[in-house]
Symmetry: D2
Subunit: 269 residues, 4 copies
């Protein structure tokens, strides 16, 4: 007699309770600090595999975003065991063109929990582990309120090396929280063949975005950002040529799956 | 020619820039989750060295408190490099009587950063490192608002073992955030002699409290709490006999030194 | 003009230098502590999806293995930046039958680095992050030598909860290091469809094993093991009914790809 | 009725079981990687408070040492719960003269466990937490054997910034493991007064060294080392002017208290 195993992801068991990640929808509450800047468009293009192309307008625009999240499944049970809900991330987003549309695309991303890493792989985010910190607003004491002049710091490290740091000074409420990460996401889901030299076992181009979202007012901010080189990281190749602006925003979002645009996996095997 | 070294704490250098902790005042912004309960008063008394005695009223009362902090020196520079400002802690407080007054006394405490550990030793808090998590309120998405019915979880682990977990459900605004941790702190600062068998090199009884504080409304909460045994931890000896209540509060505080009440170090050597 | 991106895994870039994991072969040096025991065979069977079946002989046998690794790519450069090479893992292995052959199969596994987690997903190991410790042999001081009577401890925690702990006392050199993890590995590589309700995008049954290996003498050991329940872990369902034995061994291995046995992904979509 | 509390350090309890550190003797097994170099002697002198003076010979010599430890109390029980025994450290040692004798003195040190941090404070080591890694020798697979040509890497980070990294290539067995850390240690035990502006509550000059030790053969090594600046770290001020040499050695040591040379605490209050 054979068995059926359950669970959205590994490890699959008779009950499904062990799965590293639950089935979507996934819900998130978090604070976002965004700095947008222009880099050499050639440095963006080199990260866009065919048939993706540079966005027509402002093709060198980059958003570097820090997020301090609490996330959960539909049951929300993770929120009551917060080691399973809380994580932080920092990520770099560019824009690209595909079939005449403009998309956002995450090219680098670091998180500090395993469930966040694997949820990201599912969505096509190129996640690694890192150490991420950002100042949190607070209504009392020395931490900043959400108000003009409030200052927030944000840092990213991986493998014991600092990769990025930024300081944001809030200016005023803003009609927007930035334009680089404002499109649907266009990601690849790549998984190599287990057999040597056989290419990819999974090679999908997917589109996704929030299933629902709510947000507080966006704030514009003056921002400073510094990127640092590291042997196995290339974030610093997206060098800062010209700052566009900074933003702070508190959001609630949910994600409930994406859409498969292309699958090249049959050819890969 | 000899030198002078500077700094509030180790390592002392020519500039003082390396000191693990800055000189007070220290400032804090944070969220507190408190559960108060009664244990066997004998379990409290065994933690009170002479001449400390049990408090007259409700001598078995214990407060178990989780705090999610951002802290800084007077310069506030740590807030912009938040890995140096943010930490979490969980601690157990009892009350005691000394010279006719009632004091609060922290008997166990865990934090997750070195600067917090050593600041605590300075203040007489018996700090260890641990892994501490608590749900944070958030205005958007699935995380709780600060409102009736909102649920917060809180957990504590050390040396890869869970030591405590609690769940709080907010009920209503409250005139108080609890009574166990509401007195000045009465702590010992103990530091053993470097010479074997010579007792203590530092044996001080000190009193301290916030230099200033501000706070949002306290909320009462229904609380559940579970304590777990571990080979080198005795928090679970403060077993829960009767729950008193739970509280949530956001606070801003500063600490700027304490007062030496007794010093027994001359006798110790 | 479009680009080509390089790298064995995410994130893929123009140079390939950012890939979280390098292309195989992967090389490993490590110390293994293994405890083998019998559980209820029904608990093993429930983890074996069709067409896998229980092994004919000793179907309830489980190996719980701790490993302290240094790993690298063919260049071996990671060994000189050891934060990128060192990791620890603990894993549970059972045996199963497939097309008349007996295989080993890892049903639960925890590691403490991202590169190890993702290498494992590539191989079909159901990896999560955990905190893993094992006593290391050492020729001087209080740590154990590799000799009769030497004692080694091993522990596993995840999400701030201890999941397993064991103590091993070496007895004598042994002809074997255990039988449960001695077969080729039979794993599933499962990756869900990005589209909700569409099943699996990748559903492969793969076989793999070491491309080469060397090892010191195996030692038999008396072992004690304790498993602990947790909300999102089911290791403790593989309850210990009868101890078979313990083992210690130092090994060097390489892995250079596996073999695809079945692919059900076309049907899944 | 009042109580007596027990334990070598905080937290003190009725049983003493909670103490963050046990009473000495403390025992250690570990591997040491040492690079010795010359810096500007003025940079050493500025770290030596009066009446300490520069060593007469080679006053600018610095040893930067990485150590991978397993440590325990006399009971050795920590070795079987290795999360309580294992830690890593990196530290900088200089020499100094005091009353006509030459001493070694640790001026900076980072460890990755709380018990190691507080044991160090007891001994006068200026410990902080850091992230420390060093290649471990291994008899199989790609990790280095202990033999000519073997290469070991070592890195140090704190607060998410890399502070130092070194590479060692073993040359041959050596009569010595270095000279900078070869003298008795001369340390200050400083603890500030709890009252603001009152100076030090504890201000001791102490001497200590191993109570016993054993070691394998020392190996000389070619070494490269790089130091990096950070806002709250001054290790990089001990800039490398001239490399002296590198060393690898496996050791077993015990520590069982030191000797008080001077106490200035009465004057401080």
């Amino acid at each position: 007699m054979s068995s059926t195993v359950r669970g959205f992801f590994h490890p699959k068991t008779a009950t499904g309770a062990s799965s590293l990640i639950p089935a979507p929808p996934w819900q998130y509450s978090g604070d976002l600090l965004t700095v947008e800047y222009r880099t050499d468009p050639a440095r963006v293009r080199e990260l866009l595999p065919a048939p993706l192309e540079l966005a027509d307008e402002d093709p060198g625009a980059v958003a570097l975003i820090w997020a301090d999240w609490q996330s959960c499944s539909a049951s929300r049970e993770e929120l009551l065991d917060p080691v399973r809900a809380q994580y932080r991330e920092a990520f770099a987003v560019v824009r690209c063109a595909y079939r005449g549309r403009t998309y956002s695309r995450c090219v680098y991303i670091w998180v500090d929990k395993d469930f966040a890493l694997v949820r990201g792989l599912h969505q096509g985010y190129p996640k690694k582990l890192g150490s991420i910190h950002q100042t949190r607003p607070h209504p009392y004491g020395p931490a900043p309120r959400i108000e003009a002049g409030a200052r927030f710091g944000a840092t990213l490290a991986a493998a014991d090396r600092r990769l990025a740091e930024a300081v944001f000074t809030l200016r005023e409420e803003s009609a927007t929280g930035g334009f680089v990460n404002a499109h649907p996401m266009l990601h690849h889901r790549w998984f190599p063949s287990v057999e040597k030299g056989k290419g990819l076992a999974l090679d999908e181009l997917v589109e996704s975005g929030a299933a629902s979202s709510e947000a507080g007012p966006a704030w514009s901010a003056d921002a400073e950002v510094r990127l640092f080189a590291a042997p196995t990281e290339e974030l610093a190749r997206l060098e800062v040529r010209e700052l566009i602006g900074g933003y702070f925003r508190q959001v609630g979002v949910s994600w409930d799956g994406g859409r498969l645009l292309e699958s090249n996996t049959s050819g890969a095997e």
